[in-house]
């Protein structure tokens, strides 16, 4: 579809125009940190931040949401299920890694039995992805075959180039948004397309120089459970782990949730919220818990990303290389250190 462009100056007008019709979710800076949030007049939009603290997954799979509400009145109990969303919204500025993260979530929530809450949001969301211009040292999306300069799976892709953003619709939904943007967009000229190609080439050059450029996933993937599960490497790796949920909650692909009841006094709200395999009550059942030590919990997280998920999903890893765990782990542990520790141990063994 045709390459268009929009000047940086016109962006606030674009936000207002979209928000007049549907809610607009984009990177907003609040109290010093940038996260995806709904736009309003006063919002401090921070589109060019490379990594929001949390990923964009809240837009489809919020950290907590009500499922139904029970109310008691006299001796009657009423149960009101939460309404599925029927309102359209635009998710604006998601990066290629987070977009792959949504693809991972689709595998989980859109396969039978379909998660209706997630499916309703997916059906009503228009996704505008933004290509990365300046990757950071913790980026390793290339290890999963992601091209950060050409986000795949969006309705519209935009590229920051000089004082403008290039804009290209990818789907019918994207065409509709392009029509809504209307006169704020102009056709791109040949010079713009050249500048875009140069920008993409620059980003790729940077990618090749990143500290994790040579990260290899050899030895991981479908069917590797037996090789990795009983490795002694886990026993030393997990030691610094604080058992907090930071890695899980900033992760674009972590999809586990808990279902809990909240007593409101006159009734009960049944809600679901993100869970973390790092937590002691994760998968707690009537018989107790099947993972009783932190080394088991720690192993679970990485085995899920790098072995179990690919085993069950045609080889697809459920890590996208966004590097948020690298940036945010309070104990400086992360998936790259895990991959490299195994690489080192396995090389040592063959010596």
């Amino acid at each position: 579809m045709a390459m268009m462009k929009i000047s940086r100056e016109a962006m606030p007008a674009l936000y207002a125009r979209i928000a007049a019709e549907q809610s607009l979710i984009l990177p907003v800076k609040t109290a010093g940190q940038t996260n995806f949030a709904a736009w309003d007049e006063g919002a401090e939009v921070d589109l060019c931040t490379l990594k929001t603290v949390k990923s964009a997954k809240d837009a489809f799979f919020p950290q907590s949401e009500n499922l139904y509400t029970c109310k008691t009145e006299d001796k009657k109990i009423t149960v009101t299920p939460e309404k599925l969303t029927d309102e359209h919204f635009v998710l604006f500025g998601i990066k290629a890694c987070d977009l792959r993260g949504i693809e991972v979530l689709d595998k989980v929530f859109l396969s039978e039995p379909i998660d209706t809450f997630y499916a309703a949001r997916r059906a009503h969301g228009t996704v505008v992805a933004m290509a990365c211009a300046a990757p950071s040292e913790s980026c390793f999306c290339h290890a999963f075959g992601i091209d950060p300069t050409a986000p795949a799976g969006a309705d519209v892709v935009i590229w920051p180039v000089g004082e403008s953003f290039m804009w290209q619709a990818q789907t019918e939904k994207g065409e509709a948004l392009t029509a809504l943007a209307g006169d704020l967009l102009a056709a791109a000229e040949a010079a713009d397309e050249t500048a875009l190609e140069e920008a993409r080439t620059f980003t790729k050059t940077v990618m090749a120089k990143l500290p994790y450029a040579d990260l290899s996933l050899e030895g991981w993937g479908a069917g590797k459970t037996d090789e990795k599960f009983n490795s002694p490497v886990w026993d030393t790796l997990y030691k610094g782990c604080l058992a907090c949920g930071t890695c899980t909650f900033v992760c674009p692909t972590c999809q586990c949730y808990d279902i809990k009841d909240y007593t409101t006094g006159a009734g009960v709200q049944r809600f679901r919220c993100w869970d973390s395999c790092m937590y002691s009550d994760f998968t707690m059942m009537a018989h107790g818990n099947n993972r009783t030590s932190q080394v088991q919990r720690f192993r679970q997280r990485f085995m899920h990303k790098l072995v179990y998920f690919p085993t069950n999903n045609d080889g697809m890893f459920s890590c996208v290389g966004c590097g948020r765990c690298v940036d945010k782990c309070p104990a400086s542990l992360n998936i790259v250190k895990v991959i490299r520790a195994f690489e080192k141990a396995e090389k040592g063994e063959t010596k």
Binding site: A134, E137, T236, C244, F249, Q269, D281, P330, S332
Partner: protein, 322 residues
Amino acid sequence: MQEQLINRAKELLADGTVVRVLGWRRGDMDYNPEVAYFNSADELSDFVYNGFCGANLSKYMIEASKLEGKTLVFLKPCDTYSFNQLLTEHRVDRDKAYIIGVGCRGKLDIEKIKAKGITGITAITGGPDQIKVSTIYGDHDIDCKDVRLERCHVCKGKEHRVFDEVIGESVDTRDADRMAGVEAIEAMSPAEKFAFFQAELSKCIRCNACRNVCPACSCRKCVFDSTKFDSAQKANTTSFEEKMFHIIRAFHVAGRCTDCGECSRVCPQGIPLHLFNRKFIKDINELYGDYQAGESADQRAPLVNYTFEDAEPGIVSERGSK
């Protein structure tokens, strides 16, 4: 200093004084060393001690105290306050620890470096006063005092409060008023205070990193980990319950918090959690006289030490006193 620490650790391992070493292992970036145990001289080749070793190792000694034999642990001056506090609470075993007080000239905050717009970091060299940050996009010379951890601006001083030996020089890096942040909030109107805390706490993702890193949070089973409690561990659908977590935690560590600053260091959303704790410290100081938790393992904390002269804080006593 790093070489000195490694050599001494090797000696202590070799002569059987300790059976393991608790320290910091070189990370995959120059700024992300991780807390690690070293069980042999060989493993110590990955030991690192530099400006990014902010992690306070005291809390790890709770687990290490349960292991066979002594653990060599490296504590910076401010970390020793946490260790003392844990001793007071009988959570660590002094006999299981061989403490080397390590010199500290202030620790660096990678978030502050990145907040300068620096990204694509490939190396960080230099120190202790100036560092050079090399990136794919160009190099930056930075004054360490501009990128120190918040805690270092209110440094408790160069004295180690508990140790078996000290290696290395320390520098008092204090250059700010410890209570300035609290006073700024106290001066706000109720509406401003509400807006401030609303903006900060709405970022919370309930990862529990602040709690898990906190040396004062050493309960075997945290009340928030109970499955029978509405304010449980995970994000609730009501924001009120969310705030309860931080408020309850602040109350629970009041009088025991040494102000080590780990909570603010680890928060992925940059919430200035230390402000809660400092408000309590300020109030305790004002009501009961200056008190620093962890200064010694023998002192009794004001909140658990009844005297006839005790203040009776509260609206009623305020009314009576005026």
